[in-house]
Symmetry: D2
């Protein structure tokens, strides 16, 4: 037994999500990032690796995949933290080299690539996790368990939102790298707002509700002049189990930071969760007082208890939730190393493919006049 | 100078809104309810009038309109607090008798009736107020002033909601009178949820934003088996000034009491208000801290200050807001009595007509497959 | 049966609390204010009475007491809304004239006067209510019922606060009348902050807990230069049932409006209530989720249900709570008029006397070095 | 440049705080825990070390100090995560071996030991950090900066609280180890509640206010039958800069999890922070709207910005704040390794000594009748 060895592609200086992945991967003391191809720019790649005290730095992900696969002390898994258009080629290279993959979302640049990844993962041994990190919050797992256990009865109305304001001005014209690639069709894909955050909302909704979106009617807008992709969306939804709802997302909602929230209403109860105060889940029974289901409690659902690291009142946040995806993935990797079958208790390629379809259908619906389309 | 004399039609024992109207009309010490035709049932009418110490009780609104118009000490205005299908005939009777009218919302049973009231009020002298009471909150008036003054810049995204749960079971089958008439097409009109509360949300949105809804795409549902009218709606909106948004309303949202809320996002600021904690308005400037604009402050907009009766921290609520419609109406009535022109600083027939059109178009959109319709 | 006739002493133009008393007395349609001696200044008295459409205006409270007692249509009760030093003489005049009294708090200028009022009320027929208005909130009555019913077990820790900021500058030196009399020992008594708001906190604590304060250790301060009375206090408490706690009050707590709150912790549960969001009471069971006990619910305690006028989600506030004292007082007055014994379900002279003792002992404790004193 | 090597004493299986220290020490990728004497019980020590993949496990802290000091690849610093009575001997052993120390709070078992540690650290080279982890929150650093910059003016009133409920029953009689040592005078010292959490509150108050407590009047209680140390305290405070306040702490406050909060009121502004929602700091200016100073914003004070790892809206929590103490300590250790003078931007022995004095004086004050004592 030892700490696992991880590698990372992307995430070099200037990136936000790279450091998040490192912290999340290492948080439970089960893995260490030791190798990386942290940037397409060789100098940045090297200085980034140095700053992280990596043992091995590569100039290209392809070289890294080959070299690590060949080493007896090579990495156990790789983290893909590149812009969207590089998810597929990088993930593919490591999967083909027999190395397990943790990939940032969305799964790929387009549905076609996503379908290929589904095929690739389905036919091979390496594990694949997609960091839909918001599903790692204990309160989200509590919510999912409550729905599953019937505490809400038959779901009727689902309201999910994800609002930010960081793109409310033409930030991509000021040299901001995050804004540049996310608003660039060549690197982000067909959508900015729906692709970047709407897909998180879609995933959260399906994760908690246990239902799939079957039809949508999407009204997308680019409010900021000169922007090439959407920065706002209002979407009507119908779900597989008969529920209806709305998915609202925006990157121009002035004053909002990272306001992901979800409310579910069923025939026997309601639920409400807000990511910015993630340790409280409101349960709304019919004709009785609302209950503040806090995390880390003895009465929490086992699935939620398993996702907490501190006692109630010691708030856990974004990094801890992100690290929960890694915890579950690493547990699976240990199983595979022991010769046991994996359990796949984390988002994977199928979730990613549904996400891509959601993104593309939303864009298509809006282009055709905000009409209803099946998913 | 004296307290004005008011009459009331409807609002007898068992009704909720009758007592609200009485308190609201009398709160500022400017009026007293002295006469009434409080029920179609004569015994109920009499006992209700007695319980309120009314000086004069009538068996029918028609008799009341005639008699009061003839008295030298007749009522100065009448309150119409009947179910929807009786708004038009009652209002018409008093208007034709030359008596000013305060009418509960929605304005009428259908657009056609609403159009006739518009014509009637437009051609006559009596004043007409529609109790879209939520516009009476000081924070709502502050919000409207902020939008008008440009504090939000160009409006982009508008999210309005009105969720309740009181009809989440088939209450109308248990003898509940409120539920019975509201779910009965013959008394409520073409819609239950959109008509009863969606129209409040629509009015609030237009009141604060200063924009009109120009197109909608509405997905209405009757979740409760056997219900003849909608009890839930998700609606996409486009507004006259270029903003887009959603209007969500429900009477089956388990755990929700009277959750009316609105959020507005513009190019220069955001606003958020929730009716259940009505004395706080959140202002969200770009790149700066959110501000809790509490009511009753020295820094409040004059329009908001004029709508408060207590200092900051002494919470005002539903009744006070309702009474603000009466305060403005009574001030107008005093103007007219002094021979001055009325100012009409309260919702009226035009707002009511737009509300009816919103209701009917929502129902039509939904029936035709949740398609887009112009308003 | 008729609306009762009320008179008022004090509350003329410029006063805040006068209008509050009128609205509260009339809110339920059971009384009308018809007579008044609204100011010691005759012109102000007259113009104030005119603005309220009073039928009879008096230049002095003594003349009013005599005249009203003599009329067949004289007032049923009087409202005493003067500064503190005038509570006793005015209340005494009306009590001696056989007229029921509703008096603003604190009961009197000093303990000695309070004791005389206790004697006077004890030996006579007229009813006496003291407007400790915060006990009129439905959530406060729910809290009291929960404690009484044992839902909290044995009380251990009680934390009550009342913080404002309106005296954080030397407002009394700028001509503000409210500030002038409240900081003037000749009109307010021995204390400003403890007398004005600390006494509300003390009353609320005793009302909900059902225990009396038996000892205190008070640290009072006048933070604003030149101020003659305290504007801030921190007080340790011990209670008759074994609980301990703190009472914190301030009129210099920058940014606070009217932040009265109470938290109670017992061996079996906890409670929390905040006046500025008065329709929520938090119940904290051991080892289970907090419950938001909202007002106006079917599950509310009957005592709380009896104190609501609107359904859940239609927020009630300061005026409604104030009016609840009047509702209970008027119900008693009707009982007495019908020859039935009064029930005295509202604060009275005994509560007022305890309040005065609390004020005086707090001042004494602080003067002697913040030492412990029995109450 | 490399990751630093850390060792740990205590924190074996069953302990809560050990894992917290490991995560906090490693979070920023600057250190790895590689050695430990994790329990006085040899088997537990070994199995705990194995579970963490430690390279070296010791049976005693003394052996560990000697061996690590002798190795060329020995640990750079040690973490002391034992019960209170072992802080002093363990810290001393490592300091004397020339190894830097991070020690859990309180600093020691008693004032006398604390004084010896002050002397020891003052005369030697090794660095010493005390994990008053709550000072690591960005909002706490923002608060401290605001006070320092004069945004609050002259401080007047300070209210600090720390309430929990985990000891509301005689948990120490059920075999719970955490409860056993904390309520045992031989291991915890003279106090349970004040020692364990009151000292955090005291430290937070002094950290933010920049003032020291100069006098106190403490009323301590053991509410749970059979408990040998206090489980609740209400304390009046006077501070060096003229402010007054209260410190309230409890381990029997039913329903409270880890409710540490602080409010400060000055002549020019107010502040409020609550640990359970740690990313919001409320700033209360006089006569203007409250501002929600969220963490991770461009407008945050540099001291606060330096203490965030994620953008606004990606909540940070307890572990991140704890890790901030380590980040500052490690930065200092790097300075020392580079031959630069340390900056000591983290709590140290002097804070610890003040904390011990606060604990002992509180207990003494209470024993002598809750009298005032100087600090």
């Amino acid at each position: 037994m030892r700490r696992l060895r991880a590698g990372i592609v992307g995430g070099g200086r200037g990136a936000f999500i790279g450091a998040v992945h490192r912290i999340a991967a290492e948080l439970d003391g089960q893995a260490l990032v030791v190798a990386g191809a942290m940037s397409a720019d060789a100098a940045t790649a090297r200085s980034s690796a140095e700053a992280w005290y990596l043992e091995r730095s590569y100039d290209s992900y392809a070289a890294m995949a080959q070299a690590e696969a060949a080493r007896s002390d090579g990495i156990d898994f790789v983290i893909v933290a590149t812009p969207n258009h590089m998810h597929y080629p990088v993930a593919r290279a490591f999967l083909e080299a027999g190395i397990h993959v943790v990939c940032d979302k969305p799964l790929a640049f387009a549905v076609t690539e996503a379908e290929q990844l589904v095929a690739l993962v389905g036919s091979g041994k390496p594990l694949f996790a997609l960091t839909h990190n918001y599903t790692g919050y204990p309160a989200v797992r509590e919510a999912r368990a409550l729905v599953k256990n019937g505490a809400l009865g038959e779901l009727r109305k689902l309201l999910v939102e994800y609002n930010q304001d960081w793109l409310m001005t033409p930030l991509e014209q000021t040299g901001n790298k995050q804004a540049q690639w996310r608003t660039d069709p060549a690197r982000a894909g067909v959508s900015c707002c729906v692709g970047d955050i709407g897909s998180h909302a879609e995933n959260l909704l399906e994760f908690i509700s246990g239902q799939h979106i079957t039809a949508l009617c999407a009204d997308l807008t680019s409010f900021v002049a000169g922007r090439r992709l959407d920065d706002d969306a209002n979407i009507l939804l119908r779900l597989s189990g008969g529920a209806k709802g709305t998915l609202v997302c925006s990157q121009v909602a002035c004053g909002e930071e990272n306001a992901l929230s979800i409310r579910l209403y069923g025939s026997k109860g309601g639920l409400e969760w807000r990511q910015q105060e993630p340790n409280t889940l409101l349960f709304k029974p019919p004709g009785a007082a609302w209950q503040n289901l806090r995390t880390g409690k003895h009465f929490s659902d086992p699935a939620a208890q398993a996702a907490t690291r501190t006692p109630a009142g010691h708030p856990e946040g974004y990094l801890e939730a992100f690290a929960m995806i890694y915890r579950d993935f690493i547990a699976d990797l240990r199983r595979v190393q022991r010769g046991e079958p994996p359990q796949r208790n984390y988002p994977g390629v199928h979730d990613g493919l549904r996400g891509l379809r959601f993104i593309e259908r939303s864009v298509e619906s809006s282009r055709r006049g905000a009409i209803w389309l099946d998913l």
